[in-house]
């Protein structure tokens, strides 16, 4: 038993029992798909169709289908790549870093957040692979023995580091997520009535029985995986920022990039978690598990990371002036007051100003306000990457090669398409997988539900402290 401060609000409300948790989470897995879910899936399948069509155009006719030109050789593709990878980071932060910090509020949101990580990384990976132009040769990025050209890959290149970082991140996140799913699959298996469901979830549950020894190992594995995933998630966005920071383009060549990108990634990721969780809790009636307390905690992370991002924007500007480098100074003046001023000020408004509204407790605890602000942050963080990438490239050292970038329909199609792909995967996950980690929520139920338990005998004597929670009277 752990000690819980009496001023903490309960994390599971509504006086739930262990069996209620199982019922509430398994309900949508076992029930027939409802109309709202089918409609939502249909909309995302339209998005997926747009994705497939745009990929076909890109691959059949080549990268010329995109709006890139000789000056702006990287635009929406890498913007979307960084945006998606960043979104993924919140899942790992919730499941790994908050586990190391023993934050109990992570338990009911970590499953969906990790799923979001995995799907976001899948979407992110589409962009570099498509930009290769010949994705069937994607294996050339691996150091394989071969007979063409310069024999081995270039280990000095940040783009190659990206290959290792993203693929490690994806596979470790997938394993971490799956380990957590195994006990919950066992729960669904033991409740399953149909033969297909029973067999399918038997296979998925890896024969889990929940024996004490297995749980002991499970906990060790989770802790070590969290310890490995924590530096991993920081390394991934650091390496993504190296794609820019190691080049000699004014506006990119800065040492502030790694921490600034990591903070931005967590910022955008939490915004996406909030967007998804506010919808999910409503659709699947999980209000007792994903409470206002959870939303408020996530909003606090958004204020913190949003402010870090704001400081980074200001620091960049200051350093550009302080460096005395003419090109660097021009790059920043051009960002804020050049032809892409609207992108810069959209970024500033969405990322620096709107999250500050969360200083008000009322706004932090309002679902509508949180949902709207989370959308603003998602948009703002997309603009951040667009501003960094396109405004730094479009006016380089030679004014004769200055150009503007405008996306084609295919650019837009690939981007909108990945959103379709993401939501298709997310809705399938929400239907067939338990969206809340039942085992972990059950583990915190006794200490964090705010409900009096009447055990026949109390062993560790902490029961009295638990029952001093002032919120009990509300239950």
């Amino acid at each position: 038993m752990q000690h819980v401060s009496p001023i903490r609000e309960p994390l599971v409300t509504g006086g739930k029992t262990y069996h209620d948790i199982t019922n509430d989470v398994c309900r949508q897995v076992e029930a027939k798909p409802n109309a709202r879910w089918a409609a939502a899936l249909a909309v995302s399948l339209v998005g997926l169709a747009i994705f497939i069509y745009s990929c076909y155009r890109t691959l059949w006719y080549g990268i010329g289908e995109w709006g890139l030109n000789k000056t702006v050789g990287w635009a929406w593709d890498i913007t979307n790549f960084v945006w998606w990878v960043g979104i993924g980071h919140a899942g790992t932060l919730i499941s790994a870093i908050l586990l190391l910090f023993r934050q109990k509020w992570r338990t009911s949101i970590n499953r969906a957040a990790e799923a979001m990580t995995i799907f976001a990384v899948i979407c992110a990976a589409m962009f570099p692979v498509l930009h290769m132009g010949r994705p069937w040769l994607a294996y050339w990025v691996l150091p394989l023995p071969n007979t063409f050209g310069s024999l081995w890959v270039n280990f000095n290149s940040p783009l190659l580091w990206d290959v290792f970082a993203i693929s490690t991140y994806f596979s470790v996140s997938l394993v971490f997520w799956y380990i957590g799913l195994i006990p919950d699959f066992a729960t669904i298996r033991d409740r399953a009535t149909g033969p297909i469901a029973r067999r399918a979830y038997s296979v998925l549950s890896f024969g889990w029985t929940g024996s004490a020894k297995a749980w002991s190992r499970y906990e060790t594995v989770s802790l070590i995986l969290a310890g490995l995933a924590t530096p991993l998630v920081l390394s991934v966005h650091t390496i993504v920022s190296f794609d820019f920071a190691t080049s000699v383009i004014p506006g990119w060549h800065t040492t502030i990039f790694p921490p600034y990108f990591v903070a931005g990634a967590i910022f955008s990721g939490f915004a996406m978690v909030l967007t998804l969780m506010i919808i999910t809790r409503k659709t699947f009636h999980l209000e007792h598990y994903i409470t206002l307390e959870h939303v408020e905690s996530m909003n606090k992370v958004i204020i913190l990371t949003g402010s870090i991002v704001g400081i980074a924007y200001t620091t960049e500007f200051f350093i550009a002036w302080y460096s005395g480098v003419e090109y660097e100074q021009y790059a920043f003046i051009n960002r804020a007051f050049g032809p892409y001023w609207w992108a810069y000020w959209s970024m500033m408004t969405c990322n620096v100003i709107t999250p500050q509204l969360f200083w008000f407790r009322k706004i932090r605890r309002s679902l509508t306000a949180t949902f709207i602000i989370s959308i603003f942050v998602n948009i703002g963080m997309w603009f951040e990457r667009f501003v960094i990438i396109v405004t730094s490239l479009h006016r380089d050292y030679l004014p004769s090669s200055w150009a503007m970038f405008s996306p084609t329909m295919i650019d837009i199609g690939v981007y909108v398409g990945t959103i379709g792909l993401f939501f298709t995967l997310f809705f399938l996950f929400a239907k067939f997988f338990p969206v809340v980690n039942m085992a972990e929520v059950k583990a915190i139920l006794k200490s964090s539900s705010g409900v009096k338990h009447h055990p026949h005998k109390t062993m560790h004597g902490t029961e009295k402290e638990l029952n001093t929670n002032p919120h009990h009277s509300n239950e």
């Binding site: 580091w161 033991d190 890896f206 749980w215 499970y218 594995v221 059950k442 006794k446 026949h456």
Partner: protein
């Protein structure tokens, strides 16, 4: 060979923990305990030793580090040296990111695969659980019955006096 078990069903983790302590103190050997979630403190009362999986993770990670360094140094330093950006052939600082990623990859996969093997977890169509409620809301304590040795009514009393809400018998066909 068929094995017979007595199953004590509990519905509270604290009752379970004290029951385990008392039953083990009474000299009865507990075969296993099944719970819907990890019960903290159960390792101590059941006498489960600390898992050595972190050691596995450490050595797999060490293998990843050495393999990554060897691979990069051999490929770019010896097998096909090229001058890239005026850097030395063996440019250690730029080998760090890949080395770090492979360390994490090997440590995580090595540990998880070992976990699956030692816990005998593998995809299977049929899974035998003692009591299906142990993945939902009940804690199940299994005690093996040895023919002619185990006194069933005494065991029943022992389990019930320690808070079991139900005591069942179960035969497992091996």
């Amino acid at each position: 060979m068929n094995k017979k078990f007595v199953l004590g069903i509990y519905d509270d983790e604290d009752v379970l923990l004290s029951a385990i302590e008392n039953i083990r103190a009474a000299g009865t050997k507990i075969y296993d305990v099944f719970s819907p979630y990890p019960v903290h403190g159960i390792d101590d009362v059941l006498g489960i030793k600390r898992s050595r999986l972190p050691i596995v993770a450490f050595f797999c990670g060490l293998f990843g580090t050495s393999f990554a360094l060897w691979m990069q140094i051999w490929m770019l330093g010896f097998d096909w040296p090229m001058i890239i950006g005026g850097k030395p052939h063996i440019a250690l600082p730029s080998f760090i990111p890949v080395t770090f990623e492979l360390t994490v990859l090997c440590a995580a996969f090595g540990m998880v695969i070992t976990f699956f093997i030692v816990s005998k977890l593998k995809p299977s169509l049929r899974v035998n659980v003692f009591d299906k409620r142990s993945t939902d809301d009940k804690f199940v304590m299994a005690i093996e019955i040895k023919e002619g040795v185990t006194d069933l009514s005494a065991l029943n009393n022992l389990l019930r006096s320690n808070g079991a809400i139900e005591v069942n018998e179960k035969e497992v066909i091996k």
